[in-house]
């Protein structure tokens, strides 16, 4: 056999006998196609809609029923006036609202322009325009139907984009980007740091010393906490200075939440590395366990609402998802803890659980 053919054969044998790589190469594409296929949706469904109808009549009810009748929308509130809309948008309870003119039906009947205002929460990427077009589509189809029955109809849909009036895409991505960057730094770095100790053998000495596992873990966590915090500062500064992303809410709160999120990611990194002994495996584990879910399931790029319910369920377990909500809320919507306390609490709980699990699984012996 020639040298080259021999080399080829050798490589083939290596691949065939390396179970782990084989698994990754075969299953990874399958899983990825499924994940990406279902996660990447540019169409939206189940949009949470609020209706403001100051003077309900047959026409408004008819139009309202049309909205309620499609899968694209879910009418969650009906309000007599627009006063209560702001908090609903702020807390994320609604994503879109349609506001009827007063005396809508009468105006239609008399051939006068009757306005319907469509307001969209544009802090979600992709969805903003889609939500707007769907609403306008329903309105226009109603308009056509009336027109065929005879009579002029002028319904004037107006669209407003809340929270992101310029629809700058950087505003949409940057808060999520902060989460992404922090996850990488925290989870990846701690995983590598711990497995490097195992690989060089210094872990043995640490273990044999009086240091308790918690001390070793906390020691690593604190050190990287500081670095992570510097990263938060850098990323936020870049977002503000380079991309002019607004910061409507409190900087202090943003940094504090950032710190909390770093803590969560660090604990995740430690949990991953406590089960592995080589840097390579730790890196892959950290990437698979943090980067992939962060990109796909945190709502950072692809809206979670459009995903099938299993993925929506899983996304709740991704810490980045909650931080993206928090970051967007603070930066784009300008809200504070009064709205964000549930998400903050969830992150806090996750951190506690992860640190506990990491400590428990950190073995005080080699075997």
């Amino acid at each position: 056999m020639s040298a080259f053919a021999g080399l080829l054969r050798k490589e083939w044998l290596h691949i065939r006998r390396d179970r782990r790589t084989l698994l990754v190469v075969i299953f990874m594409p399958i899983i990825q196609v499924i994940l990406f296929g279902y996660a990447i949706r540019t169409d939206v469904s189940g949009i949470r809609l609020a209706v403001v109808d100051p003077s309900p009549d047959a026409s408004t009810l008819e139009l309202r029923n049309r909205f309620a009748g499609t899968d694209a929308f879910r009418v969650v509130r009906v309000l007599p006036n627009a006063g209560a809309l702001d908090p609903l948008f702020a807390s994320g309870a609604i994503q879109e609202a349609i506001l009827f003119d007063g005396d809508f039906g009468n105006k239609l009947a008399r051939g006068l322009p009757a306005r319907v205002l469509v307001v969209v929460d544009a802090s979600e990427p992709n969805s903003g325009s889609a939500m707007e077009s769907y609403a306008i589509g329903v309105i226009q189809s109603y308009q056509r139907d009336i027109a065929t029955k005879g009579g002029a109809v002028t319904i004037v849909p107006e669209a407003r984009m809340r929270f992101n009036p310029t629809r700058a895409s950087s505003n949409l991505f940057v808060p999520g980007l902060i989460a992404f960057v922090l996850t990488i730094i925290s989870a990846l770095m701690t995983a590598i740091s711990l497995t490097r100790e195992k690989e060089t053998g210094t872990m043995e000495i640490l273990l044999v010393s009086p240091l308790r596992p918690l001390e070793i873990i906390v020691g690593k966590v604190l050190a990287y906490l500081v670095i992570g915090f510097v990263s938060v500062l850098l990323v936020v500064a870049e977002a503000r200075l380079v991309f002019a992303v607004p910061l409507q809410g409190s900087l202090f709160l943003l940094l504090a939440e950032g710190l909390l999120f770093i803590l969560t990611s660090l604990s995740l990194g430690i949990l991953i590395s406590s089960r592995t002994s080589s840097q390579r495996v730790a890196m892959i584990g950290a990437l698979a366990g943090t980067m992939l879910p962060t990109i796909l399931l945190s709502g950072f790029i692809f809206p979670i609402e459009s995903m099938p319910w299993p993925l929506r369920l899983i996304s709740n377990a991704v810490p980045a998802k909650w931080f993206v909500l928090i970051a967007r809320g603070i930066m784009l919507k300008g809200v504070g803890l009064e709205y964000l306390w549930p998400q903050t609490l969830i992150l806090l709980a996750m951190t506690v659980v992860l640190v506990g699990a990491a400590t428990r699984s950190f073995r005080i012996r080699l075997a």
Partner: protein, 310 residues
């Protein structure tokens, strides 16, 4: 007793790394575990310093059980694992201070103990540990293991991969340490280092081949041993192997070590017969004389056949 081991067993899958080992080490001894790779030395050490749980048997160090009194022992035991486990990106001084702090000790307080060793390192105290030569790394590791003034020191293959000069210097350091009353337990694959210890245990594939003072182990060889010398070494080896009465023929440096398969013959007679044979085979310059067995001879006699391939 500084260390007691009773029927200790540790398995990894199908391999038995430590196979019912029983022995005792008294306080203040310089005790050596001598054996090649795979003998089980590292596994045994890891059990004794509380890093591994045995599958069966018991062991105590400084009177404490190694499976239950973990934190107590970790304060009082010094350990130097194989392969220079220090932080390569920290300097000599930084490494030392770190290991001192971890034990709540300070370098200044314990300086008298490590001074003789550290003096050799002092000129390089700011150099990154990764940039040190093998011999220097080893000395630094020893300092770091001693800096908290342990009552017993476990050194796992501290001289492996290091040149002959550094190895000598290291053993001289150990001899001085022994003088302070510290119990020192060392493992090494180098048979000649056995003679530096007070007592040794020969280890092969998880089992003890002998536990005693090196001189007594060597003397326990039990058969007459001859030293055979001639100019043409390889032909001499082949010819001697073909000698009908040959039991074992092994090269040892510039000579061969020979044992006869017959029992009860005095060495002079064996020598005479062998010499006659060699002369007859054309080795006019051959020399044959009795020689004192070394630990290596005894090890080889007791270890039996090298592990089969499959």
């Amino acid at each position: 007793m500084a260390v007691t081991i009773d029927s200790l067993v540790k398995r990894f899958g199908e391999t038995t790394a430590v196979d019912k080992v029983t022995l005792e080490i008294a306080a203040g001894e310089l005790f050596g575990f001598i054996g090649p790779d795979g003998a089980g030395k590292t596994t045994l050490f890891r059990i004794l310093v509380t890093l591994l749980l045995p599958d069966a048997g018991r062991a105590t160090v400084l009177g404490r059980d190694v499976t239950t009194d973990v934190w107590e022992l970790r304060r009082r035991v010094g350990y130097m694992p194989g392969r220079f486990s220090l932080y390569p990106d920290l300097s000599v001084e930084e490494n030392l201070h770190f290991f001192a702090s971890v034990f709540g000790a300070s370098v200044e307080a314990q300086y008298d103990l490590i001074a003789p060793i550290y003096d050799q390192l002092a000129p390089f105290k700011d150099r990154r540990a990764g940039a040190l030569s093998g011999g220097m790394k080893q000395k630094l590791a020893l300092c770091c293991a001693l800096v908290h003034r342990p009552e017993i020191l476990f050194l796992d293959e501290p001289t492996t991969g290091v040149d002959a000069v550094s190895r000598r210097e290291f053993w001289e350091l150990l001899a001085r340490l022994k003088g302070t009353g510290l119990t020192i337990v060392v493992s090494t694959p180098y048979m000649d280092e056995a003679n530096r210890c007070g007592r040794v245990a020969l280890m092969q594939r998880g089992r003890m081949l002998g536990i005693d003072a090196p001189s007594r182990i060597a003397a326990s060889f039990g058969r007459p041993l001859l030293r055979v010398r001639a100019d043409r070494r390889y032909p001499l080896l082949l010819a001697t192997r073909e000698y009908p009465n040959a039991a074992t023929v092994f090269p040892f440096g510039d000579v061969l070590h020979f044992t006869d398969r017959r029992d009860g013959l005095p060495p002079e007679e064996i020598a005479r017969e062998l010499l006659a044979y060699l002369h007859q085979r054309g080795f006019a310059d051959a020399q044959v004389e009795a020689t004192a067995p070394t630990i290596e001879d005894t090890f080889m006699a007791r270890m039996g056949e090298p592990e089969k391939a499959a």
